[in-house]
Subunit: 354 residues, 2 copies
DNA sequence: CTACAGTGTGGGAGCGCTCCCACAGCTGGG
DNA sequence: CCCAGCTGTGGGAGCGCTCCCACACTGTAG
């Protein structure tokens, strides 16, 4: 314990040592020799302050290590300077896992510049859903991000009627009134199927997600469109209804093989479904990609580790998070601005499975 | 718009229709025919209230749909009723991804019973680290959870000196003064290596994580201990230093094969390293598990999808999150209670790679 | 009958801000 | 010369709570 030993104490340079009470606006004002109002104006960036006063205040703030008390500010402005990221828990498990952390990472990156706080709210049952309603009604956040939506999810409706600024990842349907950001699911699917056709597949099947989700619908739509553009008739027997999960992919793939043993390509609406499908195909003695080419969706971590490594459609998830945050901040600051929609491009990552 | 059309409006049953301003304590008091103090006592569960008054207040609260204003409460109590989950971003990428969501899921589950809010703070560079310091010093949270720690991470030291209740996932070293929760890394590693020995391996190598992390050290320690217990000398040539990543695993595995071509088992301190190692082994013409048996750590999603599916050590991550939250709440409510440590058991999930 | 604990209660003070009104000082036009 | 009209400024009021003091109103002991 030498006197020069550095201690992580660097935050009260002015104060004479131990952690005293936090300085208030009034103390800053006293030190700067101005009134409370002037200090407040400086902090909030008002132009109506003389250069001299502004400098005095800034020095005082630095000297005291002043940080505004958020609660006091919230009490009078009824802004909270915080937004909620709501995750319907059921979805988290379905989506490829990195999705979740990447969205958060993007949102957080965008928020880092502001002094907004990010509140995380997982909703896993009706009770928690009710709590969330009460929470939102009590105006405890300035805005809401929703990570994934089912067609019949009541949450977006609630947000709409409460008129809370909000942005969804994905949408409920074509005419989603709330702002949302999503990847070009249809385009990605179309790109994948075209890739299969180009490499010579003539019997291209698909494994879908749960069709009460717009993402699943959109990916199926892209599949269908690519086939039709290439002059193939849409054949329902080539469509395997599944649920984004590995086990669902296995089951649907088996049925598909029974119905259409001659199929030579499969576009899967998620990587884990594709992984399941690949297991089934291999068990059935099909070589990948020679007998059957397989493409997944998400470009998640499993895509790199299947055997062979999987060709997959990548969506810019972190960018989606960033965009969501940006839209939300806009909506919060310019109340009543029109809702906005953003579609981000997807990309085909070609590996060895197709 | 029929008059009976249901609107999601159920939260102001007493109010005569449109969203009016939120009711205050005072209005509740007026309606219940009591004073402000009595209402406050009822809300905060004080015993010094007559049954009659309590009932009147509860009715008034229900009728008005009253929800206390958090900011006002915070202003006077200087409790914030929120805790921060801090994620040093660099780590997130290293750890197998589900780790992150599972910890959050556990924490959130535990918090659901309380009215604590969960704040998420990602720290990815020095600037954000500074902001966090200011944030914590300004007492904007009642407690802090830290998701993963390096030996030289300054954050735990800061938390210690600010005396903020905090719980770490993992620890810096043997004598970690802060509360922490971690999996039995050493035990899991030992279990894995014993499994390899039991199946007949005689030359068991290991791939380590970065040794400035205690987890990596502990897993290496478990490896060493199992070998010594079985009467094998510790052989440095069988230890490949890596960094938890897939590429790191590949590089270290190649070196290991050069040094000790006769090795017949590898314990890897993470699944993704094991996946990288398996690629290298296969490329070198080794059959898994017949020529070389491989075990990973984390039992993450990749473990199920490698070829062959990987035997791996599972840690109870969600349970870790839950426990962290529980310890933190205790520490917040009983200020100055002794720091606590919790170690949770790991489990060997046997698949086909060993 | 007075004294005196012990309950339950009302309401003032005050947490640290922002908002806004009043006012001082300084132009410049009539 | 006065009176607008600008800046820039100080400080009162008040946001919605909790804390705590003072004050009934009981009941029991002296």
């Amino acid at each position: 314990m030498s006197p020069t030993a550095q201690r992580p104490d660097a935050l009260h340079p002015g104060a004479g040592g131990r952690a005293t009470a936090r300085p208030t606006l009034e103390e800053v004002a006293a030190l700067a020799g101005v009134g409370r109002g002037t200090v407040s104006r400086v902090i909030n960036g008002s132009p109506r302050v003389s250069a001299k006063a502004r400098e005095a205040v800034q020095n005082a703030i630095a000297e005291l290590g002043y940080v505004p008390n958020r609660a006091a500010r919230t009490l009078v402005t009824s802004r909270t300077d915080s937004i909620a990221l709501v995750v319907p828990e059921a979805e988290t498990r379905l989506f490829s896992e990195p999705y979740f952390s990447d969205i958060i990472s993007g949102v957080s990156a965008e928020l880092a510049e502001t002094d907004m706080q990010l509140l995380l709210i997982l909703v896993r049952n009706q009770r928690e859903r009710d709590r969330l309603s009460a929470y939102l009604t009590a105006q405890r956040v300035d805005g809401v991000l929703v990570v994934s939506v089912h067609r019949d999810d009541p949450l977006p409706g609630l947000l709409e009627s409460l008129e809370i600024p909000s942005v969804l990842a994905g949408r409920r349907g074509d005419l989603e009134p709330l702002s949302y950001v999503h990847a070009d699911n249809a385009g990605g699917a179309r790109m994948a199927v075209r890739h299969l056709l180009r490499r010579g597949c003539t019997q291209v099947a698909t494994l879908t997600g749960p069709l009460d989700m717009e993402v699943a619908q959109a990916r199926l739509g892209g599949y269908r469109r690519a086939l039709e553009e290439a002059g193939h008739a849409y054949d329902e027997d080539l469509v395997g209804l599944a649920d984004f999960t590995e086990e669902g992919g296995r089951v649907a793939m088996r049925e598909l093989l029974d119905r259409r043993p001659e199929l030579d390509g499969v576009f899967c609406a998620s990587d884990v479904m594709a992984a399941g499908a690949m297991q089934v195909l291999r068990a059935a003695g099909r070589r990948i990609p020679d007998d059957v080419a397989v493409i997944g969706f998400d470009d998640s971590i499993v895509a790199r580790h299947t055997d062979p490594p999987m060709t997959s459609v990548r969506q810019p998830i972190e960018e989606m998070g960033r965009t969501m945050a940006r839209l939300l901040l806009d909506e919060i600051h310019e109340r009543g601005r029109a809702r906005r929609q953003v579609v981000l491009a997807t990309e085909l990552i070609v590996r060895d499975s197709a």
